[in-house]
Point group: C2
Chain length 269, copies 2
Amino acid sequence: MSDTRYVHGYSAREAERLRAQANSLSALLHDEVRYARGRRVLEVACGTGAQTVFLAANSPQAEIVSVDVSPASLEQARKKVAAAGYRNVEFRIADLFDLPFDDAGFDDLFVCFVLEHLAEPERALAAVRRVLRPGGSVTVIEGDHGSWYCHPQSEAATRTVQCLIEVQARLGGDSLIGRRIYPLLAAAGFADVNVIPRMVYVDDSRPDLVEGFSKNTFIAMVEGVREPAIALGLMTASDWDKGIAEMHRAAEPGGTFCYTFFRGTATKP
Amino acid sequence: MSDTRYVHGYSAREAERLRAQANSLSALLHDEVRYARGRRVLEVACGTGAQTVFLAANSPQAEIVSVDVSPASLEQARKKVAAAGYRNVEFRIADLFDLPFDDAGFDDLFVCFVLEHLAEPERALAAVRRVLRPGGSVTVIEGDHGSWYCHPQSEAATRTVQCLIEVQARLGGDSLIGRRIYPLLAAAGFADVNVIPRMVYVDDSRPDLVEGFSKNTFIAMVEGVREPAIALGLMTASDWDKGIAEMHRAAEPGGTFCYTFFRGTATKP
């Protein structure tokens, strides 16, 4: 993973976007993710800790180990968790394809917004499966950018989202991965695979999601690939700007906005 | 509505498809639709009664009046409800734009898979609103064909679904209407509008939905527009057949299939 470029970049605005996403969506993504006292949980590729704070908050008596390949991200994650007052997380620099842990040493694995960035998600699941004990659980959470649509429907906006999908594909990732979680977990040899969609639906009656999801998470994420999309010739600058404007229109009163995350759980036989 | 052509046709296979859909999806669509003893409920455009049997079953002590503009459909609905043993439904031939009822005579309106077929859904909601008493409720359920996607992702399959959307648009309908329920109800002057998505997610672990939804409901519905789609030049026959084959592949083991219905509720101020 160390040589994988990261579609979302590492800018300050991106850090802000990840924070907005984590706050407005935490209930939707984490509502059933709870680990009991003494469970040894590995969070794989925690990044800047956007999800780590929710893991720590929701499972206060579990022993969480969060790893990431980027020292800078890990340092941010460490500060975030410390600032929130949680002491049940240990941080380690590690590449998920070469984890510095014994076989079968963890009770649970938590893998959130990771597989989408990898050219070989199957190999990643096999690699992390090694450190899970038989009978232990894995939870995988991913989005699926092909699940997005809005009202008023807009072809230009749809094309900007296609650019994000295409740019991520050229970086070796797959942003249509949410729909693939079931077959990926099954192919990696996990049992009891269960995937549930967690759909975000936004209209005027949900102003927190208009801000926290539609504008500050999704549109911000699409806007993040403006430069490569135009440089690669995927869209012209004026078509791009039209698409973004129409996407913003769907976040105004009278518009609606839809996106689906998927959460898969399974056990190691 | 009397001169509106119906995208799904009136064939025996279509009747079978509607039956499969109603059975596999009834829980998802109807789970919170319950009317108390003595409530006078109007089901608007009940068609062949696919939903009427669930209404009657779930609200056994309500007084349900189901109307449709087609005498043949209404006769099928009447037989279906009688065969199921329910006696709490009265059937009337009526055009929803010209309902033969006094103002404010109903406590509740139920409008399911109706607006998608109408060129003027706003006018339809205004027309049925007349017969609802102040404080009464309306429930609107619609699908949204633009919400469909599958794994393995397939451009050809997506194009066949686009054909269905396009054919329905040429008949004056809008099969992307699910995402519009909130603004439509708000614009029609209803209050307390609340829309929730009801997403159907299908993988190997849900063989009932593979059969009942993916194959016998959704793919069957798309296949129903093969002739007009090809005749209109929207796709060639061979591209069409490729799209359908790839859609079937997503309903095989290892594939996944996603579609979202929307249910809106509101009250008349």
